[in-house]
């Protein structure tokens, strides 16, 4: 297959088209603008629809309407815009509507910066909006993986009738790597959605709704959703690199995992038995695999572009049996292999690290 050199944002957009997505509703924000740029040109070519909404809130509600009609639909944004979309996202989780939401994270809080960050981890994996709900959250680390996970995201969204988030960052969005794109999915073979509002022809009306005024009915719905989130456990994805017999296991996702992987090679070259555990699905979190990878480890170190978010889940999922250290940069600053390497050396020699810088 032919390889092409693509920016992450553009690769995500093309992968969405190939996955059968024909509807995009969004609002401009850096550093994800190449997605709407690309799709505003490409979607009409394939008979799809691109709408630049008046706000992120309107955009996600357009996604709601289109998803309720059974369409493969997506939106994309970056951190501040994702906060605005949270209203629509919780409604979609409540109404069990499939869609794909891309977050190309930037520094926060507030207006923050436009440089890469990973400080929306909690927002992505813990719910983000109000109410008990979960998104399936996928965190690619290469442009090829962005392409692969985009296709998977649409399938998972339909299978579970749930919003799926692709959690990237400014590095992944702006970076170019060589990718192989999949074939165009046959639109005639997408899953049937008998629940969609298509006009009540020859059947009882369908309703897309998240309102349950009767408390016991809503609790029943909450239990139903919870069982669905538990079923998602079979979708856990992760990658391990040299974790066999590792004394120190680095844990990171997305761009940070790329940096951590380079550190593992550096450390190994210096005789330190280091390995990398990279969660790819952040929800469901690959707990059993993480535990297995860290069973023999004397230390664990999370590498993040945040003030310490993933680290909480790593500690919790390792059940506090192994010392879990944290190294993070924030605000759009990116950890360097040199600095993370220093941290690894400090931990290995003293059993403790210096934390953030």
């Amino acid at each position: 297959m032919v390889k092409v050199l693509m920016k992450g944002n553009e690769a995500l957009a093309e992968a969405a088209i190939r996955a059968g997505c024909r509807y995009f509703f969004g609002y401009p924000i850096t550093p994800q603008n190449e997605i709407p740029h690309y799709l505003s040109k490409r979607l009409p070519e394939v008979g799809g629809v691109f709408v630049q909404a008046e706000s992120e809130i309107a955009a996600i509600n357009m996604v709601y309407g289109a998803a309720g009609c059974g369409a493969r639909v997506m939106t994309s944004s970056s951190s501040p815009g994702i906060s605005l979309k949270m209203e629509g996202i919780t409604y979609m989780a409540g109404a069990e509507l499939p869609c794909v939401i891309v977050n190309i994270q930037r520094g926060g809080p507030g207006l923050g910066s436009i440089q890469p960050a990973q400080s929306d981890y909690f927002q992505a994996v813990k719910g983000g909006g109000h109410g008990d709900y979960k998104l399936l959250v996928l965190a690619p680390a290469t442009i090829q993986e962005m392409v692969n996970l985009m296709g998977k995201a649409f399938d998972l969204a339909d299978e579970y009738r749930n919003p799926v988030m692709i959690l990237g960052d400014g590095i992944l969005g702006q970076m170019m790597e060589a990718v192989e794109l999949p074939e165009q999915k046959d639109l005639g073979k997408l899953p049937d959605k008998p629940w969609a509002t298509t006009g009540a022809k020859g059947r009882a009306p369908n309703l897309i709704n998240s309102l349950y005024l009767d408390a016991s009915e809503l609790e029943k719905h909450n239990h139903h959703l919870q069982r669905k989130y538990e079923r998602m456990a079979k979708e856990m994805l992760w990658e391990e690199y040299k974790t066999d017999g590792a004394d120190i296991v680095l844990v990171g996702y997305g761009s940070s995992a790329r940096i951590a992987r380079a550190v593992v090679d550096k450390a190994r070259a210096e005789g330190i038995k280091a390995g990398l555990f990279r969660p790819i699905s952040l929800f469901p979190f690959p707990k059993p695999a993480l535990q297995a990878a860290c069973a023999q480890a004397k230390n664990v170190l999370t590498v993040e572009m945040s003030m310490g978010q993933l680290v909480e889940d790593v500690r919790y999922n390792l059940e506090f049996k192994v010392p879990v250290h944290f190294y993070g940069r924030a605000g759009g600053m990116v950890p360097t292999t040199r600095d993370v390497m220093e941290e690894v050396k400090r931990i290995v020699s003293n059993g403790e690290g210096g934390g953030t810088v």
Partner: protein, 249 residues
């Protein structure tokens, strides 16, 4: 036996939760009659709002989506863009449309989205218990304007129909009322026109319907109908706002 009156097919047999004397029921019926008369019940997708008509999906015997507060025009945009040949309408109150959702309705109209909005204006927040709405008229008492709406601190009512009529994407904007049988007949005609223009693919259409709220206004149902005529219509004049008579070709 000749049937002279029956429930429209586009309404379910569910009993509504609306208060006695509230005119939401009349407006529901008008929309349902129009759907029946146009033969589009199986081709129509409705969007219900947040507010008193939040449960509209229980009463319309059609496919429905329930939207977040104010977002019905965005949801309807998503629906209509997926199904350009189906008939899509939103049914929204004045808190929903003129306050939290003013951005969504303005931009849907400006984009010329080809759906119809039924905008029910009763000058108050009903469902949440009678708070001031953007459409509350000057001097009108509410739970959050206990001394009457004071323009010095609470500003002025928004005339949605007139405002939206300035937008090129809107093809039909009318204000009607349901406080007497003649006006009910006119209201139905306007709603039908709006749906017909949508079916013809012309652009955005909206019918603002002045409606009563005896519970939160603190009047009897009959007094409430009189209050529409005496107090609301002077602020919200009835009629077709777009196209104006002289603009029609």
């Amino acid at each position: 036996m000749i049937t002279v009156f029956e429930r429209p097919a586009a309404l379910t047999s569910a009993k509504t939760h609306y208060c006695p004397g509230c005119t939401h029921g009349i407006i529901h019926r008008l929309v349902a009659e129009v759907i029946d008369e146009l033969g589009i019940r199986e081709e129509t997708i409705g969007v219900s709002p947040v507010g008193c008509s939040v449960l509209a999906y229980n009463y319309f015997n059609i496919d429905m989506q329930e939207a977040a507060h104010g977002r019905a025009p965005a949801v309807a945009t998503g629906i209509k863009r997926v199904f350009p040949r189906k008939v899509v309408f939103t049914y929204q109150g004045d808190g929903d449309l003129a306050s939290i959702g003013i951005g969504e309705i303005v931009h849907a109209a400006a984009r010329g989205e080809k759906f119809t909005t039924i905008f029910v204006n009763n000058a108050i927040y009903g469902m949440t218990g009678g708070q001031m709405a953007p459409t509350t008229i000057l001097g009108q008492e509410s739970m959050t304007s206990p001394d009457g709406r004071n323009p010095a601190t609470q500003g002025y009512p928004i005339r949605v129909a007139e405002m939206l009529a300035t937008l090129e994407g809107a093809v039909y904007i009318a204000r009607v009322s349901v406080h007497n049988p003649q006006e009910v007949a006119r209201a139905k005609k306007a709603i039908k026109t709006a749906f017909e223009l949508q079916i013809a693919g012309k652009g955005f259409s909206l019918v603002e319907v002045l409606s009563s709220c005896p519970t939160n206004w603190g009047y009897t149902p009959t007094e409430s109908l009189k209050w529409i005529a005496d107090k609301m219509i002077p602020v919200y004049p009835l009629g077709v706002k777009k196209p104006l008579e002289e603009e029609k070709s």
